[in-house]
């Protein structure tokens, strides 16, 4: 009886070792998988869940960049902001959707919004002259403000 018990015990211990090895192997796999995915991470972002750092109008944003570029750069560049403006143009140049927002104050400057691909039906109904709020990441100012990873956000619910 005692011999039998010992054999069973040994068998269980051996199995335990296997289980430990198996769990460890799984962990190594998970960690390396995570690291690999982290490096492969595409530059596409879930902008809807980003914290909005500032809400401005097209006129406010452009005038900030024209008046004090240094200050505007530190305040807006690489920041997630919401810009309210009127659609001047919607184009599909370079196989992407871009919305240009016009300014009432500055006729030669716009806010160029590079839109994220979306399945949102509302995007298709947008038209020139519509007032919209675009959320995206501000990249800086040339003769226009450049915004990337943009989405149009619904403000009617607010």
């Amino acid at each position: 009886m005692e011999i039998f018990n010992r054999t069973v015990f040994k068998a269980i211990m051996r199995n335990k070792a296997y289980v430990t090895i198996f769990i460890m192997a799984l962990m190594v796999l998970a960690v390396s998988g995570y690291v690999y995915l982290k490096f492969q991470e595409p530059s596409v972002m879930d902008i809807a869940n980003y914290h909005t750092e500032d809400k401005v109008t097209v006129d406010e944003l452009i005038s900030m960049f024209i008046k004090d570029k240094r200050l505007a750069n530190s305040a807006y560049v690489e920041k997630t902001i919401e810009v309210k403006g009127i659609i001047k143009e919607i184009n599909y140049l370079n196989k992407r959707q871009t919305i240009l927002l016009s300014s009432q104050q500055f006729a030669e400057s716009f806010v160029i919004c590079d839109m994220l691909p979306t399945k949102n039906k509302k995007m298709e109904s947008l038209a020139i002259g519509d007032s919209i709020v675009v959320k995206g990441i501000c990249k800086g100012f040339l003769s226009d403000v450049v915004m990337l990873n943009c989405i149009s956000i619904d403000t009617t619910s607010e």
Partner: protein, 186 residues
């Protein structure tokens, strides 16, 4: 009702626009020029695209200006984008790359469909270098499309690659661009 003063303003604005139309129209603008660069090595291939390159061409003078935000380059991998902006081109210190140049042997036919050479100075990462680029010109209605490619030696622009990463970054970067110009409004 629109106040009378505003109506006068609108009237003068229209008058002004009409009077200067001839001059303004000699300039064409591309706000969404596309410029991509490629770094091919045996270790890895790096590719990035900027879809918001600004370029203005003066059809009378044959001059071309190009300006782009380094932070507007989009990479396939976000980590590469971070390295590019923070370690290599130092976008906080040098946010833009500019080019200003002129079409070589410019005359009234230089902007017809065909090939032209543009010579000028490229300013990137605080360094300025003279470059010459062969471009293909196509006229599509009232638009003018300019495409071309050239090479940029990394060392020309004081871009320091850490020794550990030297095998990952090509010594010569290939650049490709396509600018679609339209008449400058206002």
């Amino acid at each position: 009702m629109i106040p009378l003063v505003n109506r006068f303003l609108v009237f003068f604005a229209i008058l002004h626009a009409t009077a200067t139309y001839g001059q303004q129209n000699q300039r064409m603008i591309a706000r969404q020029g596309k410029l991509s660069f490629f770094s091919y090595t045996s270790v890895e291939n790096i590719e990035a695209t900027n879809n918001q390159v600004l370029s203005i061409i003066d059809k009378k003078e044959g001059t071309i200006g190009v300006s782009m935000l380094m932070r507007a380059f989009v990479f396939k991998k976000s980590l590469m984008e971070e390295h590019f902006n923070e370690s290599y081109v130092e976008s906080d210190i040098y946010p833009k790359t500019n080019f200003s140049g002129k079409i070589v042997d410019f005359d009234s036919e230089s902007l017809n469909n065909g090939v032209a050479f543009i010579k000028g100075n490229m300013e990137m990462h605080g360094a300025t270098k003279e470059i010459e680029v062969k471009v293909k010109i196509e006229n599509e209605g009232n638009k003018l499309v300019m495409t071309g490619d050239f090479e940029v030696p990394v060392a020309d622009f004081d871009i320091k690659v850490p020794p550990l990463l030297t095998p990952n970054i090509a010594k010569i970067i290939q650049v490709m661009f396509r600018f679609e110009y339209e008449p400058y409004e206002e």
